[in-house]
Symmetry: C2
Subunit: 211 residues, 2 copies
DNA sequence: CGAATACTTGATAGTCCTCAACTCAAGTGG
DNA sequence: CCACTTGAGTTGAGGACTATCAAGTATTCG
């Protein structure tokens, strides 16, 4: 899936005001309750947006890869925090300036609207995933999602995130994620040359699990 | 919480093009995969947006009450279906016309953007709710949400939806919802004069459950 | 009053979490 | 080069929680 915003920056002559930022793996990009003055587009690497609960649990809302926009907020305060999953580069946009531009530039307005709708759709899909019971369904859905988004060969998935990340994304524990992957491997649906590399051996069976 | 769009229709001279529709309880407003030519704002009553899985299970994404906007889609196709929980009245807006207006009217554009962001935020909150384990937490969160949105007295909740609706919203079964309510009542946090009416007796204890 | 629907409660089983041990791979320093 | 360390991942045993199946109560409506 190519980026929906081929190059919004240069299109608008806004380029000189943008900033490319680099973050190391596991470093914070912004925190919950921060002031939301900017939003971002991923250039390379992977970013996770998440929230922490009082009892130390973490819920990952989404993983963002090259082309994805994240950090667009409704109010002035961040509702989620963002962290680099891998070393990554992101472009930062000034929110207020973007919104001002949107009042005069229809394309910009449509872009902002599209981004907002996209996060709504993603969050809805995620809700469905979490509500739908079954560890196998969740993991299968996750794998198909990653296979599709990583783009490369549909059958090879190189996971950038840890098992803990996956677990926090799916509302499971790392042990359950690990066991489920082992089970999928025993069932011949996937193979695991290494822990982080997963080969899809039977796509239709995986899809059937999700259904 | 008052409607964020006091009267977008009359503000734009768009009023004569809007249609007020009435639906009876449990009747379909639109179905998944329908063409998304319109979106809606609830005038009275309650609407649920949901999706069905192959195995007959249902996941409710959100409940919408007076002032809420629903049915705004990214693509041309509905990803969720919408049904009347109670008898209700809704205003229907032509999506394409609204988007055209947005290109010339900054207020309209901001409204559309705000609606999109709002559904994103809601869906995110819902994800967190579903990912966060624990039936008690889920039910407590649901009750506080309903208490806040119904508006009236914060301590009296008149549920418009069935236990099945609640269960499908929280990713639980009706039995677990029922048992959890009974437990909350035994713990003195709530009282149930009737099945559909719930009195909050100890708000802080409920909030502590959610934390 | 009888039928239908919504809701509650109980007993049992299944799934996933918790706690714990173990394997594996990658560094690090002697 | 190899023991040691460290972090990530896997596997196992037991327990907690919720789903399932089943029965019983309550409420509504004809």
């Amino acid at each position: 899936m190519p980026s929906p915003a081929p190059d919004a920056a240069s299109r608008t002559g806004f380029a000189q005001k943008e900033t490319v930022l680099h973050f190391l793996a596991d470093h914070e990009i912004y925190a919950e309750h921060d002031e939301a003055k900017t939003f971002y587009r991923v250039v390379s690497g992977m970013v996770r947006t998440c929230r922490f609960t009082h009892d130390g649990r973490r819920q990952i809302e989404a993983f963002h890869v090259a082309g994805d926009v994240f950090g667009l907020e409704h109010g002035t305060e961040r509702l989620l925090s963002a962290e680099a999953v891998t070393d990554c580069a992101v472009i930062s946009f000034h929110r207020q300036r973007a919104e001002m531009l949107a009042t005069t530039d229809g394309d910009w307005a449509r872009q902002l609207f599209a981004y907002a709708m996209q996060s709504a759709v993603r969050a809805q899909e995620h809700s469905l995933l979490l509500g739908r019971s079954g560890a196998a369904q969740k993991v299968a859905t996750f794998l198909l999602e990653m296979a599709q988004r990583s783009g490369q060969r549909e059958t090879t998935i190189d996971l950038a995130m840890t098992r803990q990340d996956i677990a926090d994304y799916l509302g499971l524990t790392i042990e359950t994620v690990s066991r489920t992957l082992s089970q999928l491997e025993r069932d011949g649906m996937i193979a695991r040359p290494t822990a982080r590399r997963i080969l899809v051996r039977n796509t239709s069976a995986l899809r059937q699990l999700v259904a």
